[in-house]
């Protein structure tokens, strides 16, 4: 369970970070976010990644937890990248 939670938190974290980037917003949402909303997405994303780190350290132990957090972060970033790649190719073919 804890492992799934970590993957979820890191995927949300990188998803929000991706959303805070002006160049990806129209691919992901179909519109641009306001500066304020983009800021909120950025901080939300960072918070989610930080939360995942503390959850991992607290539940798995700081040594193995840090490793698992790094691994989960890589998987979260890759899943965000794949989602973005899928959405932008769909948008461009439309």
């Amino acid at each position: 369970m804890i492992h799934l939670l970590l993957l979820l938190l890191t995927a949300i974290g990188f998803g929000l970070l991706c959303l805070s980037r002006a160049r990806h917003q129209s691919d992901l949402l179909g519109r641009k976010l306001t500066g304020k909303a983009a800021n909120r997405a950025r901080w939300g994303g960072l918070f989610s990644l930080a939360l995942a780190f503390f959850v991992a350290g607290d539940r798995i132990g700081w040594a193995a937890g840090t490793l698992e957090w790094l691994g989960a972060a890589s998987v979260g970033a890759v899943s965000t990248m794949l989602m973005l790649s899928l959405r932008s190719s769909r948008n461009s073919s439309r």
Binding site: R21, A64, A72, S74, V75, A77, V78, M81, S89
Partner: protein
Amino acid sequence: MRNGFRQSMAWLHTWTGLLLGWLLFAIFVTGTSSYFQEEITAWMTPEVRSVPADAPHGFAAATRWLAREAPNASEWAIYSAGKRAAGLQLYWANGPDAPAGAPTSARLDGTGRKADARETRGGEFLYRFHYDLHYINWYWARWIVGVAAMAMLVAILSGIVTHKKIIADFFLLRLGKGQRSWLDAHNASSVLFLPFILMITYTGLVSLATHYMPWGIAANYADEGKFFEATFPWPAPPEKAGAAPLTAVAPLVARAERAWGAGAGSVRILNPGDRTAQVIVSTAPDSGMSVRQRSLTFDGVTGTLVSAHNPAGAATATEGTMIGLHAGRFASSMLRALYFLSGVAGCVMVGSGLILWTVKRRARLPDPDRPHFGFRLVEKLNVGAIAGLPFAMAVYFLANRLLPSGATGRSDSEIAAFFIAWSAIFVWAAARPTRSAWTEALAVAAMSFAAVPIVNALTTDRSLVASLAAGDRVFAGFDMAMLLVAAGFGWAAAKAWRRTVSPGAGARKRSTATAAEAA
């Protein structure tokens, strides 16, 4: 000036990466497979079934077996690879009265019975290959691997400098765009997995540091043997003094596990059945993050604790933990899966980098239909390394099932099959046009991986269906992983095939341009 620096780094990245890329790819692939070394060994010895219930009882059963089969030995040793191992490995040193050809090793299954497993090196061959290579002296092999790892470190650092937009392009993966897509895949696999890739390269070098830099030892110890004696004590059995019954082993193992709060992985018994008997219990390889093992030595007659070995110096702990991080033996199943995925990302990084070298240069060739020798050589080596090595691994697994189980030198034949298959792809790539060679090599790799579960079902009673029904995660997982890899190679083969029938967008653009010029 800054641009000049970046350009020189790009040059360094390109050429260190290319020169050692093929070897690095092989090291990454076999190393990544080693995260499942025990599972591969279990699959390759289908005769060994159950897994030991708990260490004290497993070791006690093995001791009883040894007392029956090798009562006059001067030393018994029982090894377990930890929680994931199937069965125990036994070694013993026969006494002077034993005949010359008497056996000195055996494998027991979880119930303490001798397992008549087929002779195979199993996952250990792939593990050893990733730093000792094969058919060449291990001393020089480690130097070659070390040079490759150092080149890797150079390529990573110069790659970071060369990559202009790490943050801006962090999430970018543009598919179906030729060179752009290869570059994105190369960047994504390295940037998103950078912590792992840096860690694995650096700790890989650390794990062989005493091999590369023996001067620290030379300055402090009379010879290397003295250093290893002090670091990894390995007492020899003393002169025998007269018979005395051996104490029960299970309570000693249980006591050691309680003292450490970690599992026991090996028991050595010196002079069993003698008054001078000693029982040395050591921690299991998966019992902690550091690979340096702790051990307790007990009197073999009375069972009292004689001494404890606990390598706890800061430098030893750091080194042991770095090697532990590299090998990941301590990892839980989730962390192991993440290690494996990160390793796959490393393979993608090296493979896409090698392919990128050709993709980038093909567009600039004076005559793309007749490239110069260097270009062709790189292309052929790419096919042989990237499609050939995985194919060789599938053949290794197939050979394990197809070679007769009683044949002499069986494990060597399996390894020979591996290298014959691998060389065959190099020969094939040299003989065929490169584009067709890619399609054919990838397709034959896909078919071989798909054949592994089928041949397994035909030659053993542990088919995928039977394993799923029995809830056997190791066997079912192995077969399903083979199918997954087969699907991946099948997809790649289909991609490569489509490119041979209708050449890529770049080529089409070029031909329309020349047509326009002609008109």
